[in-house]
């Protein structure tokens, strides 16, 4: 047993020595994720959507009277009112430009002025509950204010049934406050630091990337019969595999140490309420990546295949697994696919811990999933690994 670990550690130390001399490897492992995290954190921070006025698409058949008042009230409340025809609004939904709109029917102004039944239609694209909730809220707020006017109109109508009513004049006469006044409050006093999701995303992407590309070094050793030479000196096959796994894991841990330090000190990142859980998830993801690297080396015969599959797997799993954008804003189908990737589980756990204040127990399923991924990759590596080049 002592010899097993001795050989594994000597082998891992040698691989680590080679890694620190590989400039491209260092750039890929450390510099790229730092640059990406800095660039995208600032890009998201300086971006428009959180600061811009929320847009409200309205379809109205009148541009005057009560509707003009409503529009003015909404604008004064901080909304950017986007007036369109019904067809334009429907087209915009179909194009994915907007998620819904408020439709004021043709008889809206007349109904208000005559004290009739007032209706506001909320039109929402399928499966956008958040947009539906916002539009419903605005419609209710507008409706409750309009009801006051309609009530007044009914009262006047009862007194003077023969006289046509002008809602605008009635407003003025009754000295009612602006028809619509919706107070908007941004939830939370502090906006989230974008680095809290960009850095974990790029960390998972590049830890996995470095491990996947590390498979090429193992394949090269097989091709040059270096692994075979080690076997002939009395080193056991499991020691060699353990050494390769250890070196991959050691490289990943070094990446974690550097990137988390840069994130906390350089990007003011917040590790959330359970920093220990963040570290645990990170370490488990490193184990998954290291096991994947050895598995990939076990499954390919040549350097080109190792490089091609390593790059393809890394660049495919990263977006699918939420490295480039938070999974919770992704469509449902993408969230389902993310569950098939180790990146998805890791990023989901990071998001829960660092954005929503989750505890270690909340991310236990994600940690278990990462253990399963590491075990499966490791088992395949053990079963398939060859120490000699194909005949």
């Amino acid at each position: 047993m002592t010899t097993f670990f001795r050989h594994a550690f000597i082998l891992a130390a040698k691989d680590t020595q080679i890694f620190w001399r590989d400039r491209f490897g260092l750039v890929l492992a450390f510099l790229f994720p730092i640059l990406f995290a800095f660039a995208f954190s600032h890009a998201v921070e300086d971006g428009g959507p959180p600061e811009a006025a929320p847009r409200l698409t309205v379809v109205a058949h009148e541009k005057h009277g009560v509707l003009r008042e409503i529009s003015a009230g909404l604008t004064a409340s901080g909304w950017a009112v986007d007036e369109r025809t019904r067809q334009e609004a429907v087209d915009a939904i179909e194009n994915g430009e907007i998620e819904g709109f408020l439709l004021f029917p043709e008889d809206f102004g007349t109904s208000v002025a005559t004290g009739g039944e007032v209706r506001i239609h909320v039109v929402v694209s399928g499966n956008h509950p958040a947009a539906e909730a916002v539009l419903q809220g605005v419609a209710r707020a507008v409706g409750s204010r309009v009801e006051t006017l309609a009530l007044a109109a009914r009262a006047v109508g009862a007194l003077e049934p023969a006289r046509p009513h002008d809602a605008e004049a009635m407003l003025e006469a009754l000295r009612l406050p602006p028809l619509t006044s919706l107070e908007m409050t941004r939830m939370g006093q502090r906006r989230h630091n974008p680095a809290n999701f960009t850095l974990p995303g790029y960390l998972t992407m590049f830890v996995f990337f470095a491990a996947a590309l590390g498979a090429g070094a193992i394949v090269r050793e097989r091709q040059t019969r270096t692994l075979e030479r080690l076997l002939s000196t009395g080193v056991r096959a499991p020691s060699i595999l353990a050494g390769k796994f250890l070196s991959g894991a050691g490289r990943g841990v070094a990446q974690l140490a550097v990137l988390w330090t840069v994130g906390v000190l350089g990007l003011s990142m917040d590790l959330g309420a359970s920093p220990g859980a963040v570290v645990a998830v990170s370490l488990l993801f490193v184990l998954v990546s290291a096991a994947f690297g050895v598995m990939l080396a076990a499954m390919v015969d040549d350097l080109r295949s190792a490089a091609t599959i390593g790059v393809f797997a890394s660049l495919t799993l990263a977006p699918l697994g939420g490295c480039w954008w938070p999974l919770f804003i992704a469509p449902e189908w993408l969230q389902v696919i993310a569950r098939l990737t180790p990146h998805g589980w890791a990023n989901d756990a990071f998001n829960r811990l660092m954005l929503f204040g989750a505890s270690a127990s909340d991310v236990a399923p994600a940690m278990l999933a990462l253990v399963v991924f590491a075990s499966v990759f490791g088992a395949i590596a053990l079963l398939r690994f060859r120490f000699s080049p194909p005949i």
Binding site: I10, K14, R229, S232
Partner: protein, 248 residues
């Protein structure tokens, strides 16, 4: 002379095709035994079985009194392998390469460093041992490749085409190293495609073709099979034994 290695009925199949079939020969202690053959003759597969890397489908090999099948660990303590590929780490220095393989062979860190210094002198690289191997010439890299095989002081050294693609000076240095090793008591199994090399170095030669040993003897004995040993070259013997048809 005492027998050091005895192969008996060695056989290996790959996908049902015999790469080596019923190969038997002996190597005596302190001799340089040449294993010659065209490409695909089965030389490397034979060496891999002799050195415990590949298990034979049939037959056995006895090295220094130990079976490669039943006492692999004992055999591995006694052998050193220099494959025809450069089985080393170009990113590391020659010293780091030697120390690494020495430690993997069971030497302590201190022992490995001391042995590496001695080996570097032996292969003529003592002045440049701290440079990374990828900056070396082909001949220097070949010498490091041999040096690694010497780290555990092997009693039997396998040299698989150690002089491929190097200049005459490096080749000559390797010849001198091999002859010096024999003088120190090391037994050597040497494969090469250069017939004059085998003629100059080897005490005895085994010729392989299509997975079988087709002749064994001293260079003079083999030449005598074809004609006058003073006028016949080893290359003529080789072509006589293995034919002139091209091999894949």
């Amino acid at each position: 002379m005492e027998t050091y290695l005895e192969a008996e009925g060695l056989t290996k199949y790959f996908d049902g095709v015999a790469a080596v079939e019923d190969v038997s020969f002996v190597i005596r202690r302190k001799e340089i035994f040449g294993l010659l053959g065209p490409n695909g003759a089965g030389k490397t597969t034979t060496i891999r079985m002799l050195s415990t890397v590949l298990a034979p489908d049939a037959g056995d090999v006895c090295v220094g009194g130990h079976s490669v099948i039943r006492e692999g660990d004992e055999v591995r303590k006694r052998i050193g392998i220099c494959p025809q590929e450069l089985a080393l780490y170009p990113e590391l220095s020659a010293v780091d390469n030697l120390v690494f393989f020495g430690r993997m062979a069971g030497l302590s860190g201190h022992e490995a460093k001391a042995r590496a210094r001695a080996v570097l002198v032996g292969v003529g690289l003592e002045a440049r041992g701290s440079e990374v191997v990828k900056k070396y010439s082909g001949g220097m890299q070949r010498r490091v490749n041999i040096g690694i095989a010497l780290m555990n002081r092997p009693e039997l050294l396998f040299l698989d085409e150690p002089t491929v693609g190097i200049d005459p000076q490096s080749r000559n240095h390797i010849f001198e190293t091999v002859l010096a090793l024999r003088a120190e008591g090391t037994t050597v199994l040497y494969t090469t495609h250069y017939m004059e090399e085998a003629d100059r170095l080897c005490d005895r030669i085994g010729v392989m073709d299509r997975g079988r040993i087709v002749a064994v003897g001293t260079p003079a004995e083999l030449k005598r099979q074809v004609g006058d040993p003073d006028r016949t070259t080893l290359e003529e013997v080789f072509l006589h034994l293995t034919g002139r048809s091209l091999r894949d």
